[in-house]
């Protein structure tokens, strides 16, 4: 049932788009430009994220300093940060009137523009550098201390013997994961891209439906986007990150290779760069947001209510689907983990739009469809957390449950749910935060009286009400973090008791 719904929403909607297109022409110059820009910005974003992440991950792996754990926690924040809020923060630092340009102007230089390829890549690096750091850091931590001792005792190079082989194993997987994420990025391109030279395929779909109502073009672009994502997903599938470097005793060990002054300097610069790159934009969101709170329009309250409602419905749907699929296990989990990643929400949204539009005004279903889309998009992440927890419970208690005849709801209630509270809470937190900050399909469907908070914020930015937009950004940031915290905390309380 759930898997059928996933199939209908991903492949079915794509077919619906193709069916309604009434003649899909070939790719014109504009479409090719969008494809080229999409691939180019994804390659540059992934490459920059991975390259910049290497020194940061190495520094974190071999240094212990006050605030290290806070910084590592902060590395997880961009994932649950609403895209539009992060972009607001980046504009405050790197935008035309941002801190960086102010400094350049003070030094007598010309102000630089963040809009276009550079801005899109910068925003993607902001979101994905932390992910890359965490993936590469895992690789470093997975090298057993015994290997370091062996290499040092042999007088060999740590870099040649351990670090380069680890990086060769880890980097392709990290690159492909980030490439895939950037390939389907919409909100960043919506705010920082645009124009013929900086339009992603996703943005082109949005423009085709929203402004031109050219379903044939939207269908063609949707198919192209799906094809690109599938190819990237398959490539990512085949490039797997290896288990590690064998078993060790997981001792905390001194890193002799990090004792030189040069190594220390490199690590300090890397950590300072990462911290500043993450903290500055967020601080600016808070600072400007506090100032802008008094300028918030009255429409912010219903927008908050809609965002919270959409997030609540979306979270419930995500968790219900993830639990049902995890109970079933097997290929269903794999399929539901992969398909939504390949199908972007705009592609699915377009499909639903063309299916619904002949019989119903799509705008009337905007919030419901948004909740459904958000649930679909959060499902792979929820499954990645919940399905392994289910498997562990089955491995630990499945035989006992079988032997005493504990089946059905009793099995779920007594054996499973109490044991998966933590991952369940974490997954619900992720789903809620992702939905709260989503600016994807809602932009396609919603009318002016159906704005969610991210859409309202985007519209405030578009109408040059910067202070009000900053205030909305702060509220949205608070709501997203709160939603994550409430669910995650709820899962942890008494989870081990």
């Amino acid at each position: 049932m759930v898997i059928a719904l996933v199939l209908v929403l991903t492949l079915g909607t794509l077919l619906a788009v193709l069916w309604r297109a009434e003649g899909v022409g070939g790719l014109g110059r504009a479409e090719w430009a969008a494809v080229r820009f999409t691939v180019l910005q994804a390659i540059l974003s992934a490459a920059a994220s991975v390259v910049l992440a290497i020194p940061v991950a190495r520094a974190l792996s071999r240094r212990r300093f006050p605030g290290r754990s806070v910084l590592i926690t902060l590395l997880g924040a961009p994932f649950i940060l609403p895209v539009i809020v992060a972009v607001m923060g980046l504009l405050a630092v790197f935008g035309r009137n941002g801190l960086l340009n102010d400094a350049i102007a003070l030094a007598g230089g010309d102000r630089i523009s963040i809009y276009g390829l550079g801005g899109v890549v910068l925003a993607h690096v902001f979101f994905n550098l932390p992910l890359a750091v965490r993936m590469i850091l895992q690789g470093w931590i997975a090298i057993p201390s015994e290997r370091f001792r062996l290499v040092v005792s042999l007088g060999a190079s740590v870099s040649t013997m351990l670090e380069r082989p680890m990086l060769r194993a880890v980097l392709p997987g990290a690159f492909m994961a980030i490439f895939l994420i950037c390939l389907t990025s919409f909100a960043v391109a919506l705010v920082l891209g645009g124009g013929p030279k900086a339009t992603t395929v996703e943005l082109a779909i949005y423009q085709a439906v929203r402004f031109d109502f050219d379903l044939g073009r939207a269908a063609l672009l949707a198919a192209v986007q799906f094809g690109l994502s599938i190819i990237a997903a398959l490539a990512a599938w085949f490039i797997t990150v290896p288990e590690g470097f064998g078993a060790g005793l997981d001792r905390v060990m001194p890193r002799w290779d990090g004792a030189t002054l040069w190594a220390r300097l490199c690590d300090v610069v890397a950590i300072a760069f990462a911290a500043a790159f993450l903290i500055l934009p967020l601080s600016m969101v808070i600072l400007k947001g506090v100032i802008g709170l008094s300028d918030l329009p009255v429409s912010v309250l219903p927008a908050i209510a809609r965002s919270v409602s959409v997030a609540a419905v979306s979270t419930a749907l995500t968790i219900a689907a993830a639990v049902l699929l995890s109970m079933r296990g097997g290929r269903a989990v794999g399929l539901a983990s992969a398909l939504p990643l390949a199908a972007s929400s705009l592609v699915v949204g377009t499909g639903l739009f063309v299916v619904v539009q002949p019989v119903f005004n799509p705008a009337k279903l905007a919030l419901l469809v948004t909740a459904l889309m958000n649930a679909l998009m959060a499902l792979p992440f929820a499954l990645r957390v919940i399905a392994p927890a289910f498997e562990r419970v089955e491995a630990d208690y499945g035989r006992l449950a079988d032997s005493i005849g504990m089946t059905g709801w009793a099995r779920v209630r007594i054996a499973v749910l109490p044991r998966i509270r933590k991952p369940l809470g974490f997954a619900a937190g992720l789903a809620a935060a992702l939905s709260m900050g989503d600016l994807g399909v809602i932009a396609l469907f919603a009318t002016s009286d159906q704005q969610t908070l991210p859409l309202l914020m985007y519209q405030l930015m578009g109408s040059y009400r910067a202070d009000a937009a900053s205030g909305a950004a702060l509220v949205l940031l608070g709501l997203s973090l709160c939603a994550f915290w409430i669910f995650d905390r709820g899962g942890r309380v008494d989870a081990d008791a």
Binding site: D396, Y397, R399, L400, A401, D402, S403, I404, G405, M406, T407, A410, R411, I414, A415, P418, R419, D496, A497
Partner: protein
């Protein structure tokens, strides 16, 4: 009597065959090297693995029955207590998997807990129990299931020698008072000496007919000498 009739299990390259009977009122130790198939035999009897051949209890085949429908209860290596349930709830699962116990059933649980020395610990969670107390709770659940075939898969492996012997003696006393069949997988001949009436050797996928414990240990066959490292 529990009968394994022309039992054959294939798992990749591994092949296990068994054609052996176990009498009631006897504790049988299954001894053999790692990977010989000891735990697999218990899994087949409990219904976790499907195998060719038949498992019969009192002449009736039980091979097609679900694990919970078989006259079998099993004590797992790591006690398998749910950490989020109290001791009383963990034991109560033996009577009702939904945990909706009647007052009569709850009384049975309390009596069983008292009989294994866990009186006053009903509301504790497993983490608040010592290793020995956790084993007692798992044993209470096993005994409360009140099934005639008891399978012990390397029981009490985490306990020290003294406590382990005490627990094995308790199993023997409680299990044999009702004429049950008890099969116990162990690596340690000392366990067999303490608790088993007979020993069945398992080696290279074959299970031998059980022989009296004393006889086997006093005059160990070639396989057991090899296993114990006393082959000179």
């Amino acid at each position: 009597m529990l009968m394994l009739e022309n039992l054959n299990v294939r798992q990749g390259d591994f092949h296990l065959s068994a054609n052996v009977d176990f009498a009631v009122g006897q504790v049988t130790a299954l001894i053999g090297p790692s990977g010989a198939g000891k735990s697999t035999i218990l899994s087949v009897i409990a219904g976790f693995y499907q195998a060719d051949g038949r498992v019969l209890w009192r002449g009736e085949p039980i091979t097609d029955l679900r694990p919970d429908q078989r006259p079998v209860s099993i004590l797992f290596q790591d006690n398998n207590l749910f950490p989020h349930l109290t001791v009383s709830q963990n034991v109560g699962l033996a009577l009702r998997a939904s945990l909706r116990l009647t007052s009569d059933e709850q009384r049975h649980v309390d009596e069983m807990l008292a009989s294994v020395g866990l009186l006053g610990m009903e509301t504790r969670k497993p983490a608040a129990l010592s290793g020995g107390q956790q084993s007692r709770a798992a044993l209470a659940r096993l005994l409360l299931q009140d099934r005639p075939v008891i399978l012990l898969d390397e029981p009490f492996a985490a306990l020290g020698p003294g406590l382990k012997q005490e627990m094995l003696a308790l199993v023997r006393e409680r299990a044999l008072s009702d004429n049950r069949v008890v099969l116990m997988v162990t690596h340690d001949p000392q366990d067999a000496l303490v608790a088993a009436d007979q020993i069945a050797l398992v080696d290279e996928g074959k299970i031998s007919a059980p022989l009296p414990t004393r006889e086997v240990l006093d005059n160990p066959p070639e396989m057991l000498r090899r296993y114990l490292g006393t082959n000179q």
